[in-house]
Amino acid sequence: MSALPWSVALWLFAIGFYGMITSRHYVHLIGCLSVMQSGTYVLLLSAGFRWGAGPPVFADHPPGTPAVDPVVQALVLTDIVVGAAVTALLLALALQLHKRRGTLDPEELRPMRR
């Protein structure tokens, strides 16, 4: 297996993390979180990939044909759903917060007023 997908996953993870740490706007920060999440998808899909294998759908070709691992695809699909829920919730929280504070800069928003 090639090292390329692993490096891509690591790069997405690192660049997303960097963006989150330095972010000055919550919507940007949530975007960075999604970038990081894509890193895990690349990692998972590359773990199940096999050269020369088809999609794991056996409707039009006989069982036994080489196919990529369907388990990781199911995992990624599940996580995309969960990730969408979390992103939607985060954006809703950010929207409500903007209504009350008028800013979305993490430096200015501190719970407990310290």
């Binding site: 996953a9 993870f13 993390f17 989150m20 740490i21 330095t22 972010s23 919550y26 920060l29 949530i30 979180l33 990081m36 999440q37 890193g39 895990t40 990692l43 998972l44 773990a47 199940g48 388990v71 990781v72 995992l75 599940t78 996580d79 969960v82 829920a85 979390v86 919730l89 985060l90 929280l93 950010a94 409500q96 917060l97 009350r100 504070r101 993490p106 430096e107 928003l109 501190r110 719970p111 407990m112 007023r113 310290r114």
Partner: protein, 586 residues
């Protein structure tokens, strides 16, 4: 033994939640409250029933009948061992207490609170019972999403800020968990945890497996609020509504530690690099968490934030039991976990009583104003004494087991972190009790540094309904006979360690008591609380001298907890680096 009981614990509450959501509008008055309480009671009873049945062997359920074919697990299993079942029972009890406490609290939002709470409960039960690694992740996520929404429920500015930090840090944890699962699956080709353990034993020396552990452990330690992954917790638990904080501190944080114990003893025990890193790094992280959490707890005047830091401190103690890697250590963690969960839920309920009855949560601002609610005074002091290691009940028994486990250590003084953490957190609770309910401990400049936001919770709720769950929780935590708990915990611990993977060093029967940990922490707590409450009677030079020495330490610690999301993420990165360094060197 094949059984259809385990899935009920997760599926039941979800079904009830769905029904409530569909019919919610048409249900009169208090009916949703009653339904939710009955559902939680049923889960508690189910947990107890499973714990009894699992004594003769685990209860196993393969979903859809997809049992292993030719030794290869292809389906997803729920497996109830004693430890998992007891966790389910604990979760049920905590939710019953929370629902009774919240009677009438959430009138305005109708059934949405109940629905979220029931889903939250189902997720915790599923997390404790599942045998499939990816399924574990799914329950972890469901638990998190329900928790995020419940934290932000009040839609006030500080609740929203706390919830955003909580969501961002914990989502990062979930991602690390998924990446870790991906790495494990790529190397070992299994998701069933028992099968993963067998494969991991064969793949000794593969460097990817410790890497996967590093990611999984970081995710669980974020949930379990271990230093330096802990910064989100103090804000989230302090801003969440009190009934929700009860379940957060009593149950959700413990899930991180329980998950780590589960993974350690089913998957990673045969991997030498991992066990060595647990011993060399995680044990000390636990000790540091216990001590630092205790100090931060003592430095708070916002009662809920103080309790949140005390949760952090006690999670450190729980983590030490897992990292000691012995049957006694694990048994100690399980016992302590149940005891701490009950006591902490009771204390958060009492904080809720303060917010509802006195309309505030600032320890110094409320000084002397709690005199007329004397039952709360007794309960608050009892909770403080139990946290401080009063030698009765489950927490004391857990500490004794941890002490016995540390006796086999090369550096066994690490166990002293237990009495220090327990003593400091107990001192903080006792100090708050003395100030609020007795009016002791006058402080000059009372207004200075007070929390600025008005914090009050819905006031027109009956006091007996708020105090009844507190009394039951405290009784449960203190009245369980010690030797029974000890026997059950040792049984649960050895069943949780997979036989055939690792020689489990079990020491059944009497546990030798080496250090009087309970008395040590209790005297520390009384000393520190007495100092804080009686300081103004002492000669000024003594009082001011100690103040001048300690104040910069506490101020520095507090300054690290800035509440800025970026800072919290940097600390998580530092923790990840520390873990990987430990794995690399081990």
């Amino acid at each position: 033994m094949i059984s259809s009981l385990p899935p009920l614990a997760a599926a039941g509450p979800i079904l009830v939640a769905a029904t409530l959501l569909a019919l919610g509008r048409h249900l009169p008055g208090r009916v949703p409250d009653v339904i939710a309480i009955v559902a939680a009671l049923a889960v508690a009873a189910l947990g107890a029933l499973m714990a009894f049945r699992a004594g003769d062997g685990v209860l196993l359920h393969w979903f859809g009948g997809w049992s292993p074919r030719e030794g290869m697990p292809i389906g997803i299993a729920f497996q109830a061992d004693v430890a998992g079942s007891v966790m389910v029972a604990l979760v049920g009890i905590l939710f019953v207490a929370s629902f009774v406490f919240a009677w009438g609290f959430f009138e305005e939002v109708g059934v949405q609170f109940h629905v979220l709470m029931l889903v939250f409960m189902a997720a915790m039960c599923g997390f404790c019972l599942t045998r499939d690694l990816f399924n574990l992740f799914v329950w972890f996520e469901v638990m998190s999403v329900a928790a995020f929404a419940l934290t932000a429920y009040r839609l006030e500015a500080s609740a929203l800020e706390g919830a955003l930090n909580f969501t961002v840090t914990n989502s990062l944890g979930s991602m690390m968990m998924l990446a870790g699962i991906g790495l494990l699956y790529a190397r070992l080709g299994r998701l069933d945890m028992l099968a993963l353990g067998e494969e991991a034993a064969k793949a000794a020396g593969d460097p990817v497996i410790p890497g996967a552990f590093c990611l999984l452990a970081a995710a669980l330690l974020i949930k379990g609020a271990t230093v330096p992954f802990h910064l989100w917790l103090a804000d989230a638990h302090a801003v969440a509504p009190s009934p929700v904080s009860m379940v957060f501190s009593g149950g959700m944080v413990a899930m991180g530690v329980f998950g780590l114990a589960r993974l350690t003893w089913t998957v990673f025990a045969p991997v030498e690099a991992v066990t060595e890193a647990l011993h060399a790094v995680v044990l000390w992280l636990g000790a540091a968490t216990s001590v630092l959490g205790g100090m931060l707890c003592l430095g708070q005047r916002h009662v809920k934030r103080m309790l949140a830091f005390s949760t952090i401190s006690h999670t450190g103690i729980l983590l030490m039991g897992v990292a000691l890697l012995s049957a006694d250590g694990l048994a100690g963690t399980l016992t302590y976990l149940v005891g701490h969960g009950l006591v902490k839920a009771a204390l958060f309920a009492l904080a809720g009583v303060l917010m509802a009855r006195l309309g505030g949560i600032d320890e110094i601002g409320l000084r002397g104003r709690g005199r007329e609610i004397w039952p709360a005074r007794i309960a608050f002091a009892a909770g403080g004494l139990l946290l401080a290691g009063l030698p009765v009940g489950l927490m004391e028994e857990g500490a004794t087991l941890l002490d016995a486990a540390a006796g086999a250590e090369s550096f066994r003084w690490v166990i002293l972190a237990v009495p220090i953490g327990a003593g400091l957190t107990g001192a903080a609770v006792l100090r708050a009790a003395g100030r609020i309910f007795l009016g002791w401990g006058k402080v000059d400049g009372e207004e200075e540094g007070a929390p600025s936001e008005q914090e009050a919770e819905k006031a027109n709720r009956p006091l007996p309904l708020m105090l009844a769950p507190v009394a039951v929780l405290l009784l449960l935590a203190s009245a369980v006979p010690g030797h029974l708990a000890e026997e059950a915990a040792q049984h649960a611990a050895s069943a949780m360690m997979q036989p055939g993977i690792v020689p489990a060093p079990v020491s059944p029967g009497e546990v030798p008591e080496r250090l009087p940990l309970g008395w040590m922490s209790l005297s520390l707590a009384l000393l520190v609380a007495g100092w804080h409450l009686g300081r103004h009677h002492l000669p000024a030079i003594l009082s001011n001298g100690v103040q001048a020495l300690t104040a910069p330490v506490f101020a520095g610690l507090e300054r690290l907890h800035s509440g800025v999301t970026g800072d919290e993420l940097v600390w998580i990165l530092a923790g990840l680096a520390l873990l990987s360094l430990g794995l690399w060197l081990a």
